[in-house]
């Protein structure tokens, strides 16, 4: 059996991020919000302060550990919402065609035309700041690529022999979509989904920076990056460690998506065995 390096490394990085998020209270050295102490302000990384401290003397390591919770929640949940919306609309539009296809296409083009961050901003402005509205805003604005992919896959899959065979064998539309089309388009959907999780983590950062997402003093990787912006020359560790966390998580997600796609394709599965 060939070693699937991308799957193992990607899975390990993503799992690490999740474990860190789950075990944050035990892994963190200090409370990420309350343990501010100006005596320790802007300490560079050392044995006491692994990732250094910020201008208010808070432990960056602890804040990065706690930040995993918010960043991952936003990334996973909002991308799940996106995937469900995108696949639901794209799959049905591609399969049914007709006026429904036109409607979905119009909506998708609309979403692609408006920068999704601006759209998310508008939704946030209506719902008010906070984690829940952040999830809703990001979950409703980034489904267009998934939708496009799902629609294109459905279009090409529906002329496949087995889909037509299913029609002939008396499968209903819904059953065809779920048992015949969906499993066959899962590969690209998962890859898009993992990429989307990465970009959702980044969008969260942007919205938090604008004061609409997670508000200080609560830590998310994005907001930490934003706060560190001014001190990037004097205290680079403030931006390096949250940035590294984002980088590794997104890298892990992409590798994982790649590895999953290989697994979900039964042809490559048999080549392995």
């Amino acid at each position: 059996m060939k070693l699937r390096a991308n799957l193992i490394i990607g899975g390990a990085l993503f799992a690490l991020a999740i474990v860190v998020g789950l075990l944050a209270p035990w892994l963190a050295h200090t409370d990420p919000v309350l343990d501010a102490n100006l005596m320790n302000a802007e300490e560079p990384p050392s044995w006491t302060w692994w990732f250094g401290t910020d201008g208010q003397g808070r432990d960056i390591y602890s804040r990065v550990v706690y930040g995993a919770r918010i960043s991952l929640t936003v990334g996973i949940v909002s991308q799940l919402i996106n995937s469900v919306i995108g696949v639901g609309l794209g799959l049905s539009a591609g399969y049914w065609g007709g006026w429904w296809d036109d409607v979905v296409n119009g909506l998708t083009n609309l979403m692609l035309a408006i920068p999704s961050l601006i759209f998310a901003l508008a939704i946030m402005a209506v719902l008010g700041p906070g984690l829940t509205s952040l999830l809703i805003a990001l979950g409703l604005t980034n489904w267009s690529f998934t939708c496009r992919i799902a629609r294109a896959s459905a279009l090409s899959l529906k002329s496949q022999g087995y889909v037509q065979a299913a029609t002939v064998l008396g499968y209903g539309d819904l059953r065809i979509m779920i048992t015949q089309l969906l499993p066959n388009m899962l590969g690209p959907i998962i890859v898009i989904g993992t990429l989307g999780m990465g970009s959702a983590v980044l969008s969260e950062a942007a919205l938090s920076f604008l004061g609409l997402g997670v508000r200080p003093p609560f830590p998310s990787w994005g907001s930490m990056l934003s706060e560190a912006r001014d001190q990037i020359t004097t205290a680079p560790w403030l931006s390096v460690f949250p940035g590294l966390a984002i980088f590794l998580t997104v890298l892990g997600l992409n590798l994982l998506g790649d590895g999953l796609r290989d697994i979900l394709d039964p042809q490559s599965r048999s080549r392995r065995s």
């Binding site: 496949q160 022999g161 087995y162 037509q164 065979a165 299913a166 029609t167 002939v168 064998l169 008396g170 499968y171 209903g172 059953r175 048992t179 015949q180 499993p183 066959n184 899962l186 979900l264 039964p266 042809q267 048999s270």
Partner: protein
Amino acid sequence: MTGAPLIEVEDLRIDLDNGSGKVPAAEGVSFRIDRGETFGLVGESGCGKSISALALIGLLRQPLSIGAGAIRFDGREIQGLSAAEQRALRGNRIAMIFQEPMTALNPVSPVGRQIAEMFVLHKGKSWREANQLAVEALASVRVSAPERRVKDYPHQLSGGMRQRVMIAIALACGPDLLIADEPTTALDVTVQAEIIELMRNLCAERGTAILMISHDLGLVANVCRRVAVMYAGRIVEERGSADIFRAPSHPYTQGLVASLPRLGSRAALGRNRLKEIAGVVPAITNFPDGCRFNPRCTQATDICRTVAPTADFLEAGGLVRCHHHA
């Protein structure tokens, strides 16, 4: 419903909407198939045989539509049924197998599951029962070690195996009619013979009627009791399959039979050029007036070029559509 044919097609016309108007892709198609009977539909590519079969199961899609005529299955008109009622027929009472066993199975689903789904869908079985029945179904199409094979994915099976699986799926619910559209075209000749034999035996055991569609006259005559030959959207001759070889009536059928290569003919008759029918099939938008075969027919006269021949019933049984039939 004794006496009534299983399926009865009456004067069916199928229209092709080519953007500027409707042209008939097939017309005047009539035939009937009794319970347990084997019926063959032979013709060249594009002669309308496959779309006639699709019309039978109510699956014509734009740009094709039924223009006129009636299709009755078990005495009930197919067009009169709701979409849900048609769906309940498909796969349950009318099943179909395709020419491409490579692509007719879902690549991401184990074959056992695909068989089992038929029982769940049409017979309301639980998945547990259905999986058990799937093993039996696979055994019935002579797949060895079926309890292991059910877990295989289509790409792990050979072409012949996949066609066996297709037959298992098609016959899972014990349909009354099996439509076989070029079921063995993609297979080796030896495998082809096995598959045909298997299909014929299973259907005979279960009293399933077969509608076999093919361009291979020999194959169809071998499997079916009666054969209809289609040309350019019309049935030109319908006969018992033994008769059609012995004494083809329509010039087109005569041409087909004459053009079959025969084993040993070179030894007996010397080096001979294989017979052919001169000319090409007319385009669907440009069918000739009168008998559609007239431009290629050696016996054509003036009447053939103006008047479409009606169906003449032959004394020996069967019918032919030709002004000069033998």
